[in-house]
Amino acid sequence: MARVEYDDVWKRFPGSDRVAVHALTLDVADGELLVLLGPSGCGKTTALRMLAGLEHPDGGDIRIDGRSVLRLEPKDRDVALVFQSYALYPHLSVRNNIGYPLRVRGLTLAQQAERIGRAAALLRIEHLLARRPGQLSGGEQQRVALARAIVREPRVFCMDEPLSNLDAKLRTHTRTELKALQKDLGTTTIFVTHDQAEAMTLADRIAVLDQGRLQQLGTPDDVYRHPANLFVAQFIGSPPMNILAAHRHDGELVVEEAWRIPAPAVRDHHGGTALTVGLRPEAITIEQDGGGPGEVLVSEPLGSEVIVNVKVGSALVKVRTAPDVRPGPGTRVRLAAQPGEVRLFDPSSGTALD
């Protein structure tokens, strides 16, 4: 159980002109599951590795329970890391893999056996204990890696995309189990992923990173419904938020010169009347009455819902509808935006205005 703080942390790799982590300041509460989310190369893994002691920051401080860990070797930080590749020791059996950190800590054989048994039972891998990692499937290896991490009862779990090597079905199943396990153990966890759905389902809070900079820190609902900028708006959600050009006119917003919606109150910005509007696909409703500014290009049925692609002006708007709403291509439709769900961004800086 521990509180983790990143305080103005910087990192640039030698020989690279790009800053990998840029003034990262984060506070992870005791027992919280924080997801670091972002595209490849955004610095999320580097941030995690700095906490584990596998990389050294160029500036700033990282603290666990208020004490700086920068001068501590990885072995002294009491942080467990589950690697993307699992990093199981190939020459040791599953039992010895899980027991390795216990052996290092000098636990007696009886204590080791008891803890290995408990971790194996928790992850349902008792039947695999005699095998070598090379004899296990990806899902089994992932469970062994988790068992090796939890058996030590560390202060902090770090997980570096541990689900990315699993197939889609197993990944969904495992992330549910992982969330339950984390809540059960109550250990502070930092989870790195580039998969926004994984982040949304797992996280207590999400930290969205891009090009080494923290873009937004908030609960999954916050990040989804109130993105701090256009990057977050488009990175989170599938399909992502519709981003449309608009301008203010007579208390309304004229979107793509074709679609009028009521304008919400926003703070001042430098763009004059020009604005960028963000609308989640489910914040738009479709009325098929033969008129309206939109023309249906294609409908994509996904079983439980349909994504209708509507051309408005020169933009393509994605609308999430009920499974029975499937307008054919070429149908003229009227669109309505849910007033509380209209997000506005400064067109020049991309930052949210609400």
């Binding site: 584990a52 002691g53 990885p74 930080r77 990093a87 190939p90 020459h91 950190p101 030590r152």
Partner: protein
């Protein structure tokens, strides 16, 4: 769900899969096997001669069925030519060279693979450059250096020079092996509480075991077989190694001495056996190592 019944079945002509011809015509098959036998005979013939002549009282330079099987050749080389001492010298030199080389190339290969060093690329290629230098070109300076340091006619001199000969290539080989061992394995061990040195010995080295076996095997075989440096560094009878004893037995002194083929063959058998023993003892690891190690080169 669509109903599937006889009426729904669609007749599709599936062409037979294209397979490469496995055997060819009987004539091709026979010619191919004849070629295999000829190649195998070409490589096996020296060994057949070696083992036949070693037990033949009247061995010649050609393969012949021994008229009388005898151990006289072996008895003679041990009694009259002090071959036991040569075997012991070779075992000491090759064994110690192997230990020294394995220790050195393991640490050097790991360092070049893992450590952040300035000019690492230069160092790595400088090591390789040493390998390209012909050994015979260095004979004179090596002789001079060995004389200066008092390393002639000594185990230490032979061990050091044999190790130096083998180091450049094996450092590269080991670097390749360590490159192919994922860094995350040792990082996991550090996080599990091990120091960097203990993680190297407990996690990295066991994983790189095939590479170490290759380095040990090649090093032993090379040190066991090396003759040029032994010729220039050794002139005392009791420091002779097996290849030198073998070489001297084979000399005809300008045609004044007739070659004793039975003795040469007996020495050859004893010269060969340790190499074969090392190969068979480590062959599984060596094959694994040679296959996987090339990835990192």
């Amino acid at each position: 769900m669509t109903a599937v019944g006889p009426q729904a079945a669609v007749q599709v002509d599936i062409p037979p899969p294209i397979r490469p011809r496995e055997r060819g015509t009987p004539l091709e098959w026979a010619l191919m096997h004849l070629a295999f036998v000829a190649i195998a005979a070409f490589f096996l013939a020296p060994f057949v001669w070696l083992f036949a002549a070693a037990f033949d009282a009247e061995a010649t330079a050609y393969i012949r069925v021994p008229g009388r099987l005898t151990l006289d050749n072996f008895t003679y080389i041990f009694r009259e030519l002090a071959f036991a001492k040569a075997l012991a010298n070779s075992a000491i030199v090759a064994g110690a060279t192997t230990l020294l080389v394995v220790l050195t190339v393991t640490l050097a290969g790991y360092g070049l693979s893992r450590l952040e060093l300035r000019r690492k690329g230069w160092i790595t290629f400088a090591v390789l450059l040493l390998q390209t230098m012909p050994l015979s070109a260095t004979m004179v300076p090596i002789y001079g250096l060995a004389r200066l340091l008092g390393l002639r006619n000594s185990y230490l001199g032979l061990i050091l020079i044999h190790a130096a000969i083998e180091l450049p290539f094996l450092v590269w080989l080991m670097k390749g092996f360590f490159d192919s061992v994922p860094r995350q394995l040792e990082e996991a061990a550090w996080l599990d509480g091990r120091s960097k040195l203990r993680a190297l010995f407990e996690i990295v080295l066991p994983v790189a075991r095939p590479g170490i076996a290759v380095a040990a095997g090649l090093s032993f075989i090379s040190a066991w077989a090396e003759v040029l440096m032994v010729i220039i560094l050794v002139d005392k009878q009791d420091m002779k190694t097996v290849p030198l004893a073998f070489y001297e037995t084979f000399r005809t002194a300008g045609g004044y001495v007739e070659v004793q083929y039975g003795l040469v063959a007996a020495m050859g058998v004893l010269y060969l056996l340790p190499v074969m023993a090392v190969f068979f003892a480590t062959r599984r690891l060596m094959v694994r190592g040679l296959v996987s190690g090339t990835k990192g080169l």
